[in-house]
Symmetry: none
Subunit: 218 residues, 4 copies
DNA sequence: AATGAATGAGGCTTCATTCAT
DNA sequence: TATGAATGAAGCCTCATTCAT
């Protein structure tokens, strides 16, 4: 993640990195299904068709593998947030785009995200701090958009921190909980989520422009 | 046969039940802080100031203790839902009352609820099934109220299942995630939650009566 | 067992002894079914409808209970051997009578005997020695009868020790192994056992009297 | 999929199998001396000079180790029985050969056999059934030979099941009980056992040929 | 790059026994 | 007599990790 490589870690070949990536992706479903602690190194070896020694050659440690799963998600999420930040649009529109980007990541990495949401407390030391930092950075971005909407009179005078958490929970947990009862395209929920949330905090009597009308409710 | 009652488990004294309850409550914070799998029996013994044998005298097994924590929460939650069901009120009002009851339970048992939300996959066999049953029953109650609101024209024509999940996630996860950054009274969030959610799904042009206006937004 | 009572053990009431005897008899089936080590104190408590403290009041320790089961059997066996010793009869006849007595004990205490035969190595220290002493004493009695038969020319010149062990194994293990496939009266096997064994070691050309003819074969 | 073979147990190297065999053989004496339940994993580790993890790498579980000891014996016993079945000979001769083979196995694996005879009830589930099956198959072989001797008039009209049990007990338990008082070659007892048993059930007035005369009694 | 044997700490649970009540 | 809570050692087993090959 661009931390430099001046440290003691050996330089690795592209093949090594490719294989490592494959291992990370193949391991996430195991952690998602059984939980981080309940998944043994042996399970990971089987899933990756590798012996213990070879597996450690790629992952370093079990916790490092967990951290790598977190990074996989956060990298994508931040890229999506950056993309949105460069687009024009009102706070409502920004929020809707952010939701689409986030749901897109979750839809592409549902196991990784599940792991991230449920097992992040298993990270320790520096790895825990690093993850918390990135997470907070993302949350602050949401908060900022909401605050902008309040300032512009587009949203009511809600608590921005609280509203941001509602928005995050709606996208993270709700989407995953819906997936359980059958596959679900991100596209199908992005609209309803945006409607519910934005109507939920919208100002009924906005200073200048009229109320947004629900998508597809016509 | 005298003393026996042929049932598998021996009859227990009130003192035993009292101590058991205390152990359940004292153990929830440990599971909440470190996770179920990462919390050892030794930790539980220390926290309860009991030897291993004595601890097992009360809990039966680690998983049974986990299940007891789940039950503690679900019992309260269902009682709250029953209480609301006996009160009169429109779907909006019912939803608001349900939210207050739920947040009240979470505020009183934040650690228990955290454990329930994060560690329920650790339940196995019959215990898992029993918990899932109670959970689904509660979720269906929320869904029913939402459906009633749609039928009466009070709510828009949203997907009731999706909306129910949003409502649940908002109360369960969001409240807990807010607590992390400092203690928070249930009273303070119940209003905003109700506003955001009910406005979020409300029908902007209801057949009969006017729109609800946000609490305290005056 | 008539060892005196000058020692530290408290004097006990007749009721205590009666209850203790009942416990010994009720516990033997458990040890027989599951094995000494696999049977827990809790199992014994249930079977005797007693709490742990009360059980210990009667048995002293688990191993003492095991020893008591051994004694129950050995007492009866030695009494039977004494009775036979006072009867007249040739070595063949003595052997047949000893077999009847032994099988009678086994038939009346099959569980106790099973325990004795399979769990005696669990006895330790003085208890082990005491039991081994009594056991050897009994075996020597059998050996003596066989030796007498050899001396009188009634039996062939077999190894008396070996023959005694064959006789013992036949009665102890064979009878119990037969019982497994359905209840069996001692009376039914005593004859065949005597026939097989005595024919097996009989002198085909005895000095004086003719060969014994098989019971009921006629 | 490359390395996998989809079967539950991984393929093992010859070295692994060799070491496993050594562990099985080195563990039998411990079980024989102290009993299966009284022998701890720690004891087995010491005896095999292995850590717990390494021991489990080879044995799977304590009970699997016990089952392996049983198999070691039963494999040999069945091979011996097969060998005899292919030899010509009257029932008496077959019985004598079977006895020699059985005693030979016992002499070579006295501890294994002791364990088998005393600890088979510790086997559970499928392992117990499998063992019982093989055991019964062997017992039926003995019974068949005895029945043949009765049909041919060589033996008296004894109960074949009972006689088979006597034969088995004589070889199994008696030989082992003799060993306790000092080492004993199988060769020394095979003859006397055959004499005692075969005379014991022989027909005194056989239809065609004369009575067998005791070995080395002359 | 890969294997799998070995480590040894720690996992959860049960044990026989004691003792205050 | 009887109870059952408490003890703490020991039970069997699995863990993540290392290392010689």
């Amino acid at each position: 993640m661009g931390r430099g490589d001046a440290s003691g870690e050996p330089r690795r070949s592209p093949r090594w990195h490719a294989r490592r990536g494959a291992i990370i992706d193949a391991s996430a479903p195991l952690f998602a299904r059984s939980g981080y602690h309940a998944t043994g190194i042996t399970d990971l070896c089987e899933a990756n068709d590798l012996g213990k020694g070879a597996l450690y050659h790629y992952i370093g440690s079990k916790e490092e593998l967990l951290a790598a799963i977190h990074d996989r998600v956060m990298d994508e999420v931040m890229v999506g947030a950056d993309r949105v930040a460069q687009e024009p649009g009102s706070p409502s529109q920004q929020l809707e785009m952010l939701g689409r980007e986030l749901l897109d990541v979750i839809a592409r990495y549902p196991d990784h995200v599940w792991v991230l949401l449920h097992e992040y407390p298993a990270l320790t030391g520096e790895r825990a701090e690093q993850f918390r930092g990135r997470r907070e950075e993302y949350e602050r971005r949401i908060e900022v958009v909401i605050r902008a909407g309040i300032d512009s009179g587009e949203f009511r005078d809600v608590d921005p921190r609280l509203a941001a958490r509602v928005w995050l929970g709606m996208h993270n947990y709700t989407y995953l909980s819906l997936r359980v009862s059958g596959p679900l395209s991100a596209r199908d929920v992005a609209g309803p989520f945006a409607d519910i949330f934005i109507y939920g905090i919208a100002n009924p009597t906005p200073p200048e422009r009229g109320r947004r009308s629900p998508q597809g409710a016509e």
